[in-house]
């Protein structure tokens, strides 16, 4: 499906993080459409809605109230309609085992939230472009694993 824009979604309960995120994409040259959600329930409701435009890349914070990132991840992976979405876990630091666990559960990308805005921009740009390559070059998304 060609669109001019790359669709991005973020689910994060932290207001500041949402702000950083949207600002970063604003400053990037890539054509993107960014939607943010405050918690897992809001996110899943959107994704499960038949009329919704599904994102190319979904950024998931792990620690959210009502429904946390891991629960969303598992739910999305079980849903065939949502198989095309590249899922990036966007979280504060976790243990090695925990990070590996998110990959095993189906996440494509793990991003540790950086402490510097420029770094954030760089990371997001890289994620989106690599994802775009997968998308446009017919590469196997199952092998799409990235850790930043």
């Amino acid at each position: 499906m060609t669109t001019e824009y790359i669709n991005i979604c973020l689910a994060d309960d932290d207001q500041d993080d949402r702000l950083f995120f949207t600002d970063a994409f604003d400053e990037l040259k890539i054509k993107t459409k960014v939607s943010t959600f405050n918690d897992g329930v809001e996110l899943m409701n959107y994704l499960n809605d038949a009329d919704s435009v599904l994102p190319n890349v979904l950024f998931l914070d792990l620690n959210m109230p009502k429904k946390n990132g891991l629960e969303c991840l598992l739910e999305i992976k079980k849903n065939e309609n949502l198989n095309d979405i590249a899922i990036a876990i966007y979280s504060t630091s976790s243990s090695e085992e925990h990070i590996e666990e998110t990959f095993i559960n189906g996440a494509n990308i793990y991003i540790k939230k950086p402490s510097d805005f420029e770094t954030l921009k760089k990371i997001l740009a890289e994620v989106v472009t690599i994802n775009w390559q997968y998308h446009t070059s017919g590469l196997n998304k199952d092998n799409f694993l990235m850790r930043m």
Binding site: D23, S93, P114, D116
Partner: protein, 594 residues
Amino acid sequence: MKDVQLRNSTIFLKIIFVISAAVIFFIAGITFKHITVLKKSSKWVEQSHNVNMELERLISYLKDAETGQRGYILTNDKSFLTPYTESKTLIRDSYKKVSALTENSRTQQANLKNLLFYINKRQNYLSKTLYLTQQENYDKKILNNYLIIGKSAMDSVRTKIENMMSTQQNLLQNRQEDYKSTMNYTPLLIYLTLLVTLVLITISFIKMNRDLVKLRKTINTLSVANEASNLAEVVGGFGSWQYNLETNEYNFSDNEYRLLGVKPQSFKPSLEEFLKFVHPDDIQYVIDNAKNIPTNSILPPFTYRIIRKDGEIRYFRTLGRVVTIASGERTHIGTTSDVTEEVYANKFIEDRNRELESNNKELTAFNYIASHDLQEPLRKIETFLSRLVTKDYSNLSKSGQQYVTSIQSSAQRMRILIEDLLQFSRTNKTEKVFEDADLNSLLENAKQELTQIIEEKQAIIESSELPTLKVIPFQIQQLFINLIGNSLKYSKENRTPIIKITCSKIVANDDEFLPNNNMKYHKIIVEDNGIGFDQEYVKKIFILFSRLHNKNEYEGTGIGLAICKKIVENHQGFIFAKGVLNQGAAFFIYLPID
């Protein structure tokens, strides 16, 4: 075993007794027979003697008659005729006696008849002679004739009597002959039997003696065992009971009573009596379990409370089993132990565990706070600062710019410290899985993680074959990363870093670092040719956050080796270090071989 022996003894003794009785009866029988024979024999002798005597008398009477007659004939004195007249009756009586005495001998009866003939004949001629002599004139020739015939009759009588006497003698001898054999072998038999009996009795005696000795020993052993068992009960704080499945009766040991706080055998042992001591809440439980005693062969242990006579509550554990004893009876034997201390100790441990768990939960919560809640505001600070710098740096005053820069570096330092702290507290053992891992792979992974620096420094890493061990793989990998990373970080400038990793098996006794015992370890040495360190500070380097260089010389927070130490301790191992300034450092890791 002894049991069977004793049983055999009983049978053996019974047999001996029966044999002995039989023998005695046998002897009695024989003796009786012998005596009867003796009696008979003596009777016969007597009889023979009587016969002979009578016959002598007979002849004597006849002789008297003869003599009397002769005397009369010579003297014509009538007084001489008295024996003659008396003799008739006497002879007749005597003859009757003999006849009676020889009733059972036909030979003698025949002889008697014969004798009678001659006696009669003699008497006849005696009276004839007498009659003749009483005549005035008598013919001497006839007298002579009569006398000669009379004499021959008398001779015949005499002969006959002698005949009869010898016959009697023969008869007697024949009879004696009969008895002789009996008489002969009877004593032999008796002696033989007596000998046999003597032998049997001796055997019985020996056997009984032995059995007695055995019994005595057994009784001794039993007494000792009984005493020991009683003592064991007192020392061990338990009592024992028996339930006889045939008689449905209980038996309590002395200590069973003492456990309840009462005098031994102070009440008749029974379930009802025991239940009186059981805690009211546990009575049904005990009853339910005790129901199994008559029916099941095993009574599994169950714990309940009792209230002693003095009001103290104790915890008891009872268990039992059916045992078949020597006589074939089945008895249910069980013990009751006072496990109050154990129960309390367990409770104590459970309480401590709960305490530790809640401590652990608190620590985990702290962990979480440190990772998420503390890092979060710090990250915001840094991010907003970076935004500030990007957008408004030029708008700040000189001092403002300086301040912001300082704030940034402090915030960064703080973040790194918190990250390191977090990593350190994550290096624990709880909920970590120990699995078999090839240490060579883990080393490879570590080298891959450090690829960039290895490339940069053109470092050479040599390793010998490492074992496969049960470890927490991530942690051992981290151990290698930290040590090799350090070697790379603290490498000497202008010198190609060479890092050697070797492994060997050693026994604690033989090693310079380990305590003296026989435990076996894998000894892994990571040594480098970097800047080394002063051996004086060897203990310091493993301390959390302790560094030998300041942050301007070499970056780092001083946590790497502390983490290494923790990892090694998680695996029940040891880590030591040796360093020579400007030459290099070596780290010795010991992991137990289990």
